[in-house]
């Protein structure tokens, strides 16, 4: 590990200033991803500014009836919050399907959003990787890419974002509160992430020294209450997704009144399936249409040799979860 300095400032302002003053400094929260990457030599900060004690640790109601989740809230605490479980079940389910109990206790909401990709070339400093070392190349296209992306990828990078929580947040239209040297701002969760294009080195639209302070959930609604997260992985617990779906849907009089769909583990960011949503909105709630709508979204997919299976996997999983949501409502139970 590269030598680094460690500090624990007394205020967010000082923390931001500390990172802003040093291009090679990083914020430290739960450390469950950053420290691993430092040990691998992937992340090489020369200073760590510990902010865990400065970040919000509470989940508070907002004026419009939504929730403001401090970015220091542990993943496990968010998952079991009764308001979250009742009003945004997709979020609770996504959190509980991720990592292990110990990791969820240590990992923060803000850190979860900023996890780096699990691409094996990114994690192995002896290999080229455009994300880690811009311009060095991407061996994944020809090499080991079974777990990598089929949507939103580029010639330069086919990495996927590993978070489960972020996929659920995308489906419930969450926004992210940021503070940085230039002041505070708010972005929609989808806007937090950027696609790799020619420059995969930056995963997000955050400026240097910008800090996630909170995640805001919109007011509860029938739509978010009727939501599900499903995940396929290679073993029954403690494994990253091979594919996942966050979905919310309200059916009214046999028609899809409103719907949200996000795919996980197939793209560099949680993939809001706007094409599929548009195709479904206002249409009859029919299983065949669900599959067709998901398939329409996947028209954009650019699968490679060993990850083509993700196209069918995502379509089948998406159709199944929408069907389940429809059936639950037709039975009059939100479950």
């Amino acid at each position: 590990m590269k030598a680094f300095s460690y500090s624990r400032p007394d205020s967010v302002r000082d923390a931001v200033a500390g990172v802003a003053a040093d291009r090679e400094a990083k914020f430290l929260a739960g450390g469950t991803n950053l420290v691993d990457l430092m040990r691998l030599g992937v992340e090489r900060p020369d200073a760590l500014i510990d902010v865990r004690h400065l970040l919000g640790h509470d989940i508070e109601p907002t004026a419009d009836g939504g929730l403001l989740v401090g970015s220091g809230v542990a993943n496990s605490d968010l998952a079991v919050d009764p308001r979250v479980r009742q009003a945004y079940p997709v979020l609770s389910q996504a959190l509980l399907s991720g990592a292990s109990g110990q990791l969820r206790n240590a990992a923060t909401v803000g850190g979860n959003l900023l996890q780096r990709t699990r691409c094996v070339y990114f994690q192995d400093v002896t290999k080229p990787c455009n994300k880690r070392q811009p311009g060095s190349g991407c061996p994944a296209r020809e090499g080991s890419h079974r777990d990598l992306g089929i949507l939103g990828t580029s010639e330069a990078c086919i990495a996927t974002h590993p978070s489960d929580m972020a996929v659920a947040l995308a489906a419930v239209d969450a926004t992210v509160h940021l503070t940085g040297p230039g002041g505070e701002r708010t972005v929609r969760l989808e806007q937090l992430y950027r696609l790799p294009g020619d420059d995969p080195s930056r995963d997000t639209t955050l400026e240097h020294a910008e800090l996630i302070t909170a995640v805001q959930l919109p007011p509860p609604s029938a739509l978010y209450r009727s939501s599900r997260y499903r995940k396929v992985r290679d073993r029954a617990s403690f494994a990253f997704a091979v594919g996942s779906i966050a979905a919310a849907m309200v059916i009214d009089d046999g028609l899809v009144r409103e719907v949200r769909i996000a795919f996980g583990a197939v793209a560099p960011r949680p993939w809001r399936a706007h094409t599929a949503e548009d195709a479904l909105r206002g249409q009859p709630a029919d299983a065949a249409d669900f599959a067709a709508a998901i398939a329409a979204e996947l028209e954009l997919a650019e699968p490679l040799r060993d990850n083509a299976f993700k196209v069918d996997l995502t379509r089948r999983m998406g159709a199944a979860v929408l069907t389940e949501l429809a059936e639950a409502q037709q039975q009059g139970s939100g479950r």
Partner: protein
């Protein structure tokens, strides 16, 4: 023994004295059990000495390259660094290896796999050692790498050794050369590279000694074979290289080869300081051998009723860059590769080759695991073709006691194939899926499915494994047993060099001493090279071989004690026995107190009665290299599994609902420990069937972490019904039969068979991943 100021956390592995009862056949408490559960047990990575320094290893980034130059200057100039050593600093032979001494301690002119050690560094802090290691400048001239085992067989490919790329080619020929059969089934099969995935990384502590030698404390499986290689590399005689077993956090074959042993000793002798080395997880994946990946082509011929006529197989093991135990793995693949079935005609070619992939060697199941996936898939294919059940085809063709097997050896003890399969048939099947509990569904708590597209399948497998070292190897163990009075009580102590790696051998040693000497307290001496070799803790052999040695040493001690007792009491020695700390007559009459007898200065010295015995099982023979014929093995251990799976055919997810098994163990010395071995072994075999694979691309390991190399969690592990048979092997001590490996061999093929039955897919490769089941 050299006395050195070694300090360990509370609960060193030698501190194993508490439990005082439990004879053979009883569930004696493990002396190390409580310490391990409470976290107090000291593993090798916990070793600590004041003034010690830390060693680290510089490894090759290339699978195949010529070393042009090594500049240690910048590393050596780093403050805190004590030494940087290369091949030039190896005083003895720069060549070690289990079967062939073909592996340099530190690479000299060529590196042959990614991760091969090139230089070693000692510094006063592990992080400084790692930083300095990065400053060792090695200039490489990259060479073409051979990373495909099939290509390595081609004489036109790059030849990695003067002798060629073939480590061993074993032919097994029996009966007609070109037999014909009414029914013929054939298939190709592929098995990925499995890791032992032990939790305790490679670690140890080398301490320089005043006599110019070295004391090495290390987690290993076979102290004396380590000692032989360390001596050779250091150019020292055995009396100057003393090894002691430190706490071992799992082994499974992966500690049979050297890792940091010589490196730590070199650094210790060079710096004259104790040197500790501990691999991190990534380094561990490069720092030990793995299970050989295999490609196999099989063909079985049979009569219309399913009776086997012939078996043909070509098995190719990728041995990686160094031989390790590839030769013996080929021996098992060839001699046992058709499974426990009656074949009048046999034609097998089994190869192990050198490549530039990570070296492969011993892992639980040793050559039988890979072949079992192929022969069991073929037995199912044959059953389907002739219209009988998977159970029926195995009962029809399974070997029986007295049969002559495919290498011409008579199976001269129980071979209960038919019974093992019938037991599985008689076990209750799990209830149909309820659907309510997510945990019962494929994908489990990930909420992957709510049951749509889920189908159930059932699969069977029947396999066998040789116990002990085979093919003429001089396989023995040594035990020193002493009976003496300590604190007014007769106490036995037992000293062997047989490694306790977590399997429970020290408990077995205690149980045997209690049984044979009639005492309660048995002190297990720390394992070290101050007693003769115990042989390897592998091949399911320690309860048999070291157990045999301990039993024989106890018998020798008992004979002396009873002879002395006879002098005192007037009974003949034949009429006396030891029980409950007393000398008792056959009539049950208590004749003497054992402690009093031992305390009689006229009869015994203060240190009591001590005997050392070197014990061998029946010899085996080398097989004929052209025909594979010969009495290759000393004992066979049989097991059968039935797997029940629910498969989500839409998503490719598998939930193993039940993994039931029957196994003949000869005699369960410690029934709970036997169950533990079977549960663990079954899970490890299931892991290979479903998820465990070191992904190697162009000689590079793509998943060297426990985040990316997946082993089953408890949520992946089903309930197991386990039936233990105890058909004593008349040739083995107490009739025991090796236990540890068989369940690892039969569980995986049963899981694969169940998935095939559920999905109708061919599934000719393990691990079976979701994309293989969804077929896209």
């Amino acid at each position: 023994m050299t006395s050195i100021p070694l300090t360990s956390p509370q609960g060193a592995p030698s501190d194993t004295s508490s439990a005082a009862d439990g004879r053979i056949g009883e569930n004696a408490l493990r002396p190390d059990g409580t310490l391990k559960v409470t976290g107090e047990f000291a593993y090798a990575s916990d070793l600590w000495m004041d003034e010690m320094v830390w060693g680290t290893t510089v490894r090759s980034p290339h699978p195949h390259a010529r070393i042009v130059s090594i500049d240690i200057g910048p590393a050596l100039a780093t403050p805190g660094v004590y030494a940087v050593l290369t091949a030039e600093d190896v005083p003895g032979a720069n060549a070690v290896g289990l079967e062939h001494e073909d592996q340099p301690v530190l690479a000299e002119t060529v590196v042959r796999y990614k991760g091969e050690p090139v230089a070693i560094v000692a510094a006063d802090h592990p992080e400084i050692a790692r930083q300095a290691a990065k400053k060792v400048v090695v200039e490489y001239d990259v060479l073409e790498a051979v990373t495909d085992a099939r290509a390595a067989l081609d004489p036109a490919s790059v030849q990695l050794r003067p002798s060629g790329n073939v480590v061993r080619h074993l032919k097994v020929r029996k009966g007609e050369e070109l037999p014909t059969a009414a029914v013929v089934v054939s298939l190709d099969f592929e098995v990925g590279m499995q890791d032992q995935a032990f939790l305790g990384p490679e670690s140890g502590l080398a301490v320089p000694a005043e006599d110019g030698g070295v004391d090495l404390y290390v987690a290993t499986q076979w102290l004396h074979v380590d000692q032989r290689q360390v001596c050779s590399a250091l150019g020292l005689p055995p009396e100057k290289v003393r090894l002691s077993l430190s706490g071992v956090g799992g082994a499974f074959g992966g500690r049979e080869d050297l890792s940091m042993h010589v490196h730590a000793c070199l650094l210790a002798m060079h710096t004259n300081k104790p040197v500790k080395m501990v691999y991190n997880r990534e380094e561990s994946f490069y720092g030990h051998v793995h299970r050989h990946p295999a490609t196999m082509s099989y063909e079985f011929g049979a009569e219309p009723d399913g009776m086997l006529v012939y078996g043909r197989a070509e098995i190719l093991f990728d041995g990686g860059a160094y031989a390790s135990s590839t030769g013996a793995v080929v021996g098992n693949g060839g001699t046992l590769g058709l499974g426990p079935y009656r074949f009048p005609n046999v034609h097998i070619d089994c190869y192990g080759v050198y490549t530039n992939n990570p070296p492969c060697g011993a892992m639980r199941g040793f050559g039988c695991v890979q072949a079992a996936f192929a022969h069991e898939a073929l037995m199912d294919a044959l059953a389907e073709r002739v219209g009988v059940s998977p159970a029926a085809i195995r009962k029809l063709n399974g070997v029986r006691e007295g049969d002559v097997n495919i290498t011409g050896q008579v199976i001269d003890s129980a071979a209960p194939c038919e019974e093992l399969v019938q037991i599985l048939l008689d076990m209750p099947l799990p209830a149909e899926r309820s659907g309510a509990d997510l945990l019962s569904l494929p994908g489990g708590v990930a909420n992957s499915t709510h049951g749509e597209g889920v189908v159930r399948g059932v699969g069977y497998a029947l396999t066998y494994k040789n116990v002990g070292f085979s093919e003429g190897f001089d396989d023995y163990s040594t035990a020193r047993v002493r009976l003496q009075v300590i604190g007014g009580e007769a106490v036995a102590s037992v000293h062997t060099a047989a490694a306790e790696v977590g399997q429970g051998l020290i408990t077995v040693e205690q149980q045997i001493c209690r049984t044979e000497l009639g005492v309660g307290r048995v002190v297990v001496h720390p394992k070290n090279t101050q007693v003769g070799s115990g042989g390897s803790t592998s091949a399911s052999r320690q309860t048999y071989v070291t157990g045999g040695a301990v039993k024989a040493a106890c018998e020798a001690v008992r004979a002396r004690v009873l002879a002395a007792a006879a002098q005192v009491c007037g009974h003949t020695a034949d009429d006396l026995a030891l029980d409950g700390g007393k000398v008792v007559a056959r009539s049950g009459e208590v004749v003497l107190d054992l402690a009093e007898l031992l305390g009689d200065a006229e009869l015994f010295a203060d240190e009591g009665v001590e005997e050392t015995v070197e014990w061998r099982h029946r010899p085996t023979e080398a097989v004929d290299p052209e025909t594979g014929q010969g009495n290759a093995h000393v004992q066979y251990a049989f097991s059968a599994h039935r797997a029940v799976v629910d498969v989500d055919v839409d998503l490719g997810l598998v939930k193993v609902v039940a993994l039931d098994t029957a196994q003949d163990v000869g005699k369960a010395i410690n029934p709970d420990a036997v169950l533990g071995q079977i549960q663990g072994g079954s899970t490890q075999g299931m892991g290979l069937a479903l998820m465990e694979e070191i992904v190697v691309k162009d000689g590079h390991i793509m998943n060297p972490s426990f985040t990316d190399y997946l082993i089953p969690t408890i949520l992946d592990t089903p309930p197991m019904l386990i039936k233990i048979l105890e058909y004593a092997d008349p040739h083995a001590p107490y009739g025991v039969r090796g236990v540890g490996e068989p369940p690892t061999i039969s569980s995986g093929p049963a899981v694969a068979a169940a998935i095939r039955q559920a999905t109708g897919k061919a599934l000719r490769r393990v691990p079976i991943r979701p994309e293989h089941i969804t077929g896209t």
